[in-house]
C-alpha cells in the first residue's frame, strides 16, 4: 500500500534563505500526524509546499503514490483561521458550502444538496444553530469550527490542518479532537500543524519534529522523545511534562533532572 503522504527532499527558499531544507516525511494512511517545531521552523511552509501554495526549490510530494495535482480532489485543507478576513460579507453556511466548490467545478452554483451537506457538517462541529450567522459575529473557536466543517464537506481522504488548536476555547478543542478521531476511524489521514507539546502524545499517533530540517518523523511512541525535542527546540523545551512525552515512565526518569534544571530559566 502506498503511504498516504510521501515528501522527499523538499527544499523551500525565500530570498535565498532556506525555510525548509531537504525534508523527508512519510505518513501511512489512517493516522493522525502532528507537525511540531519552534516558531519559524517552517511548519506552515511545509504544509503550503505540500499543497502547491508555495513554490518549492527542490523535492517532490506524493499523495497516495501520485502527484498532488492528480490527487487534489482527495485532499482537504484547513488554513490558519487568521488567514482570511472575517468581516467578509457572508454567513456561516455559505462559507462551509465553499468546501464543495472544487467538486462542483466551474460555473455550477451550490444548490440544495450542497447546503444539506454543509448543514450536516455544521452539526458535526456543533455549529448547526449558527448556520445563518454573519461570520464576523463568531468567536475564534467558532470560526475554527466553521473552517473544520468546510473541510468535512470536502469529503477528502487526507486532510491538512494549519494550527486548528491555536487560541480556541475548550469546547472547540474537544470538538476538534473528537472530529480527528472520527476521521481516523473512517480511514482518513490527518496532518496537523500543532503547537502544544503537552497534547501531542494524547491527540496524535505520529509526529514530525521540524526545525527547517526534519529532525525526526514517525510514531509518537518512537520519536517524541526528550532527545529529539531538545534537538528541535534547542534548550527551550523543558516545560514539557514528563508524562506528556512518548517514552514516559521509567525510561524518562534519567532525563528528569536535566528537564527540571532547564525549567528554571
Amino acid at each position: 500500500m502506498n503511504p498516504a503522504l510521501e515528501v522527499t527532499d523538499l527544499t523551500v527558499a525565500y530570498h535565498d534563505k532556506p525555510v525548509l531544507w531537504d525534508v523527508d516525511v512519510t505518513a501511512p494512511a489512517g493516522i493522525l500526524m502532528a507537525i511540531v517545531g519552534p516558531n519559524g521552523a517552517g511548519k506552515t511552509t511545509l504544509m503550503k509546499a505540500i499543497l502547491g501554495l508555495t513554490p518549492v526549490a527542490a523535492g517532490s510530494v506524493r499523495i497516495d503514490g501520485k502527484s498532488y495535482t492528480q490527487q487534489r480532489q482527495r485532499v482537504g485543507y484547513v488554513p490558519q483561521r487568521g488567514s482570511v478576513d472575517w468581516d467578509f460579507p457572508t454567513n456561516v453556511v455559505d462559507v462551509v458550502t465553499m468546501g464543495r466548490y472544487g467538486a462542483l467545478g466551474w460555473f455550477r452554483r451550490p444548490g440544495r444538496r450542497e447546503v444539506d451537506l454543509a448543514m450536516h457538517a455544521l452539526e458535526q462541529v456543533g455549529m448547526h444553530d449558527f448556520a445563518q450567522r454573519q461570520i464576523s459575529q463568531l468567536s475564534g473557536g467558532q470560526q475554527q469550527r466553521v473552517f473544520l466543517a468546510r473541510a468535512i464537506v470536502q469529503d477528502a481522504d487526507i486532510y491538512f490542518m494549519d494550527e486548528p488548536f491555536q487560541g480556541v476555547d475548550a469546547t472547540t478543542e474537544r470538538t476538534i479532537v473528537t472530529l480527528l478521531k472520527q476521521l481516523r476511524g473512517d480511514g482518513k489521514t490527518v496532518v496537523v500543524v500543532h503547537h502544544d507539546l503537552q497534547t501531542v502524545a494524547e491527540y496524535f499517533d505520529w509526529v514530525t519534529l521540524l526545525n527547517v530540517q526534519c529532525i525526526a518523523s514517525g510514531p509518537v511512541g518512537q520519536v517524541f522523545t526528550e532527545e529529539n525535542l531538545r534537538r528541535t527546540y534547542g534548550g527551550r523545551i523543558a516545560f514539557v511534562e514528563r508524562d506528556a512525552l512518548a517514552t514516559g515512565g521509567m525510561a524518562l526518569r534519567s532525563f528528569a533532572p536535566a528537564a527540571t534544571a532547564g525549567g528554571a530559566d
Partner: protein, 307 residues
Amino acid sequence: MDLGQLLHSLFFDYTVRTVALGTAILGIVSGMLGAFAMLRRQSLLGDAISHAALPGVVLAFMITGLKAPLVLMTGAAVAGVAGVILVIGVSRHTRLKQDAALGIVLAVFFGFGLMLLTFLQQNPDARQAGLNHFLFGQAATLMERDVLVMALFGGAALAVLGLFWKEFKLLSFDREFGATLGFPMSWLEMLLTFLLVIAIVIGLQAVGVVLMSAMIVAPAAAARQWTDRLGLMVGLSGFFGAVAGVTGTAISTLAGGLSTGPVIVLCISAIALISLLFAPRRGVLWTEIRRRRQHAELAMVLKGGRP
C-alpha cells in the same frame, strides 16, 4: 427649472436622457466591480488604473487621429492594463511593497499623460480639443454612440462577473483555499482586475481620470454598511452608483454651469458619508450608542445594581 420639468427632461429631453443613462451605466458597473475591489483591498489599484489610463487616451488619439469612443477607450484600457502589470511587476521583483508600487505607477503614468496633453495643446491642430476633458470628465459630451459603447462593455463585464460569481467569491474570501480546490487563482485575479479596468475605462469620459476612483470606492464602502451578504452588497453598490450618476446629472442640469463629473462624485460621497454615519449596526452613530449603553450597564453592575 423646477422638479417637474427636470423629471420631464430626464425622460424626454434627448441630451439629458442620454447623459443620465450613461452616468447610470457607469455607476452600476463601477459600483458592482468596485465592491469586489474593496473586498480584495484593491481600491487603490482602481485609482492607479484610472490615472494610468490618461496617457493611453492621448496616445490613442495621437496614433490614430481619431476621437471615437472605442479608440480612446481601447487606448485607456491598454494603458490601464500596462499600469497594473507594472504595479505587480514592481511589487514582485523589487523590495517595494504594493502601496509604493501603486504610488509610483500612478504618478509616472499620470505625469506622462499630462505631458502629452500639454504637448498636443501647443499644436495648432484643433482636433485635439476635448481630450483634456478626460482629466475631470465632461458628462455633457456623452452622446448616444458613447452610451452604447459603455452599455456594451459594461454589460459584458457584468455578465462575466455573474458567470464567475462563485469563483470570484472564493478568490475574494480565501484565495489559498480556492487554489487547493484546483481553481487557477492568478488567472481569476487577472480576469477580475481586467473587469475593473473596463469599469474604470467606460467612466473616464464622464467622470475623468482624477475622480474615477471615487466611483470605485465610494459605492462599495456605502453598500457594505447596509448588508452582510455579498450578493446584496454588490447589487446595492451598483444601485448607489446609478443613483449618484442620475442625481448628479440632474443637479448639474438644474444648476446649469456645474460640470457633471464632480457633482456625481459629490453625490456618491454624500451617500457614502450618510451610510458610514447612520447605517444600522455598522454606522458610527450606532456603534457609539452601543458603546455608551455598554458603559452605562457596566457602571451599574460595578455599583452593585442590576443593569
